[in-house]
């Protein structure tokens, strides 16, 4: 039979009238799409290799290249779309699990797009953040029910009876998600780490360990303890600002991780504490956590190991039972819970899992926050939402639904150049992000990366301030869980109920 070509998803169209044959495109494409023929002086492009990452388009000095979708299509069919057909063709050839990268790309309802924000009119002045203070400072950690002190009454004479449990202090409620050195390049890690430190937020090691070149940024790192325990040692724990036990990830709930041996370079091997060239396999569950009481033991083991001076949190994927699970985690002693929604990203996951398992973060946050409040334990742990924050408004909505802070992953990578081509798992990221190939990683100059990631934090923080100001609020804590500021548009009663918001058109 005729062998089907792999789906030619993109076309790199070359405008010959603009092309000066500088061959920059040839040199930079890691997928070898472009080639130069010395004999004829012609440039050729093999579109079937194109990942649609736009690197060549961006590097071309004359704008001669345009990446666009390949229009070749299968017969229109609402069920048997081209995407599904080619997935089957690929699997017929390789007989394996189809891998993919980044977050879920299926058109599940995005509730952020069905929620609108409030603004002050007449009865309440909006606040201009350019003229008035506007506070985004956020603390992650367990808060006591009430303050305990002695010497009350005399102004300035208050003495705390005990320090509050450990907190991490953020200048803005935005942090960088767990992305390991391994899943992304060291330069990408450095970019995010530096940006986080410069801005006063936190970044997260993922389960990749902490490379020595990242030590300068370790006072703002949340280190992960994941099922593979990669890179976990006393020094790792001591350096961190906070600890996060990773139980699950939104992109692949219930699935472990797999960093293929060819990516386990010398540097990664040292950082992860595994032999170079061996596969780094994270088991699906923690084999010492088969129940909530096991989790409690690990939480307290980590607290013991770090002298109770760092918050210890737990990250879970947003699944059906997320609210009661979160409640259990808080009662197990976690100082914060991270909930990663179905749109959360990954360096590699089976497409079938990524696209079908989990629930949207909006619903998960609403459910968890409400549940914890009903149980009167909402103050005992911070709630960090993760998974698919595309704009500052998404963040504002998540906070109003009840999140203390959010983790951003995909959008942070986009600030570093990522065009969400979803080919992270190939290791050939042209932007130098999801790759360990030294030829590619050098493309991400961490100075630029840090600047751009910082800019994103800055820009979003400014926008959050604008939105807060519009609502007449000048501190983010007055937005947190303040669902009165939200209204649903086009949502069913049940959806509104779960989100705990009114429909647009309803006043207070």
């Amino acid at each position: 039979m005729a062998r089907a070509k792999s789906a030619c998803e993109f076309v790199a169209e070359r405008d010959e009238s603009r092309c000066v044959k500088c061959q920059a495109c040839v040199r930079v494409c890691a997928n070898d799409v472009h080639s130069y023929d010395g004999d004829t002086g012609a440039l050729f492009s093999d579109y079937s290799k194109c990942a649609g990452c736009h690197f060549c388009e961006d590097i071309c000095p004359t704008g001669a290249l345009t990446i666009r979708r390949n229009l070749s299509d299968t017969r229109e069919n609402a069920n048997w779309t081209k995407d599904y057909i080619y997935k089957i063709i690929r699997q017929s050839e390789n007989g394996g699990v189809l891998l993919t990268g980044m977050g879920n790309d299926r058109p599940y309802r995005n509730y952020f797009e069905h929620i609108v924000l409030n603004a002050s009119q007449v009865t309440n002045p909006s606040i201009d953040p350019l003229r008035e203070p506007m506070e985004l400072k956020t603390f992650i950690g367990r808060k006591p029910d009430r303050i305990e002190f002695s010497g009350a009454g005399k102004s300035g004479g208050h003495v705390l009876k005990q320090k509050i449990p450990p907190q991490i202090e953020l200048e803005s409620p935005i942090m960088f998600s767990a992305m390991s050195f391994g899943s992304i390049s060291l330069n990408a890690c450095k970019s995010l780490a530096k940006a986080a430190c410069d801005f006063g937020v936190c970044w997260n090691t993922g389960e990749g360990g902490l490379h020595s070149e990242l030590y300068p940024y370790s006072d703002r790192v949340i280190v992960q303890i994941a099922s593979g325990r990669f890179g976990v040692n006393p020094d790792y724990l001591q350096r961190a600002a906070a600890l996060e036990i990773k139980v699950g990830q939104g992109a692949k709930p219930g699935i472990g991780g797999h960093l293929p041996g060819e990516k386990v370079s010398e540097e990664i091997s040292i950082t992860r504490m595994i032999p170079a060239g061996t596969d780094a396999l994270s088991p699906a569950p923690h084999h010492d956590i088969y129940s909530i009481e096991d989790l409690r033991q690990l939480i307290f083991a980590l607290k013991e190991a770090t002298g109770y001076v760092k918050p210890v949190g737990v990250k879970i994927a947003a699944v059906h039972n997320v609210a009661p699970i979160a409640s259990g985690i808080v009662r197990a002693g976690a100082d914060f819970i991270t909930v990663d929604g179905i749109r959360g990203g990954t360096g590699a996951a089976p497409a079938a899992i990524r696209d079908n398992v989990g629930i949207p973060i909006e619903l998960a946050v609403a459910a968890v926050d409400q549940r914890l409040r009903e149980e009167g334990i909402r103050n005992q742990a911070s709630l960090i939402a993760a998974g698919g924050f595309r704009t500052s408004a998404d963040i504002v909505k998540a906070i109003a639904l009840g999140a203390d802070a959010v983790y951003i992953g995909t959008s942070a990578l986009i600030s570093l150049g990522c065009h969400v081509c979803q080919k992270c798992y190939t290791g050939k990221c042209n932007w130098g992000i999801a790759t360990q190939d030294p030829y590619l990683t050098r493309r991400l100059n961490p100075e630029i990366g840090a600047r751009r990631a910082y800019n994103l934090l800055r820009a979003w923080s400014l926008e959050i301030k604008e939105m807060l100001g519009g609502m007449g609020i000048n501190a983010v804590e007055s937005l947190r869980g303040n669902r009165e500021q939200l209204r649903g548009v086009g949502l069913s009663e049940l959806e509104l109920k779960i989100l705990g918001i009114k429909h647009a058109g309803e006043s207070w």
Binding site: P133, S155, G472, E477
Partner: protein, 366 residues
């Protein structure tokens, strides 16, 4: 729309309002007539639209000083019967009478108004918080579960008088000038809807807390959820209600003084906290803000809060609503407008504009 529907609407949702407030206190506890507060609040005509006014007086029931006094409004006789049955099941009723009123033609839909002087039945230990919780629970139960009934005052030796009408009409209706108290606060309401419900007027009170409030709270959603987490049920859906409960939670339950409550409700900015030189104090302020972040009241407000021991004026952290304070001898005055003070106190010793977030605290001496 029927009154009942209007009332339901107001009971089930927040009605933002802009208002005038006024308060007078004699710090030695010497009682004085309600004339002054009446004149003061009536002078601020621009700050109301006739859709709600009210007064709170402290020290007005000296003969029942040790009894809980409930002021309850009923839509109908039936409601009264059910509520009274419930009250009798929980309290020993020392006295029960209609609240004395005058007929004022302008007032429509006047509800049935009664007051009850009560003792708890099962003999709680004096000073016990549990007794107060019991009282709150009773009031909240009535407000949540008894249709057509509303407890609008539930303290000791104090009372709240309020209704739909301008301050002059309401003052005349309740015969405010007949009472003598050492603290008076008053409110003139400018709600942004068509008609008010008597229960929705200010002051709002629980136990002997009363709050008059000018403003709109943008943090309402989280303040309310925070209070719910702490066991308070908001039944009136007003900003004033959450402010009152916050005072009760922080002042009565967490035993924080007004100074600290001010630092929670109108928290200093982080930049101010960082400027605090004393490290211990800085740490304290930081911790206070971290723990009580959900109690921060965000949005414009000027409030006058009173209980039997103090009257406190407080502005939001960037002073978006007016509040003026004055002092003459043992008298302290607070009002939205200076003229409302000067009208009743021609030559104050001192007049000032309290800074944003800085409470004016007048405490009862002795």
């Amino acid at each position: 729309m029927e009154y009942g529907q209007l009332k339901e609407r107001e009971r089930s949702g927040r009605v933002p309002s802009g208002c005038g407030v006024s308060g007078i206190m004699n710090r030695t506890g010497k009682v004085f007539s309600g004339d002054g507060i009446l004149a003061s609040i009536c002078s601020m005509t621009e700050r109301g639209n006739g859709l709600g006014s009210g007064y709170a007086g402290y020290g007005i029931y000296p003969e029942y000083a040790d009894n809980w006094c409930f002021h309850i409004m009923y839509d109908e006789r039936k409601a009264r019967e059910l509520v009274e049955e419930y009250i009798e099941s929980r309290f020993e009723v020392v006295n029960e009478e209609p609240i004395p009123t005058r007929k004022v033609d302008a007032l429509k839909y006047v509800p049935l108004l009664f007051r009850y002087f009560l003792n708890v039945k099962n003999g709680f230990a004096p000073e016990s918080a549990a007794e107060e919780d019991y009282v709150i629970k009773t009031a909240m139960d009535i407000n949540r579960n008894f249709k057509g009934a509303c407890v609008f005052s539930s303290g000791k030796n104090m009372g709240i008088f309020k209704g739909v009408g301008n301050p002059g009409e309401i003052g005349e209706f309740y015969r405010i000038e007949d009472y003598k108290g050492y603290i008076w606060t008053a409110h003139n309401r400018f709600p942004t809807n068509t008609v008010g419900w008597w229960g929705g007027a200010h002051p709002f009170g629980i136990l002997d807390w009363s709050v008059v409030h000018n403003g709109e709270i943008s943090s309402y959603g989280i303040n309310r959820r925070y209070l719910e987490n702490a066991g308070y049920y908001c039944t009136f859906f007003t900003d004033t209600e959450v402010i009152t409960y916050l005072f009760d939670l922080l002042g009565r339950k967490h035993k924080l003084d007004f100074e600290l409550i001010g630092k929670i409700l109108a928290a200093p900015f982080w930049s101010e906290i960082e400027r605090e030189k004393d490290e211990r104090n800085r740490e304290f302020l930081k911790t206070l803000r971290i723990i009580y972040s959900s109690a921060l009241i965000n949005g414009p407000f000027a409030i006058i809060v009173a209980n039997s021991t103090a009257m406190v004026g407080l502005n939001d952290r960037i002073k978006l609503r007016p509040l003026v304070a004055a002092e003459k001898g043992e008298f302290i005055y607070l009002a939205s407008e200076e003229s409302a003070i000067r009208l009743i106190c021609e030559n104050p010793d001192n007049v000032w504009m309290p800074d944003a977030g800085q409470p004016v605290i007048a405490k009862l001496k002795g």
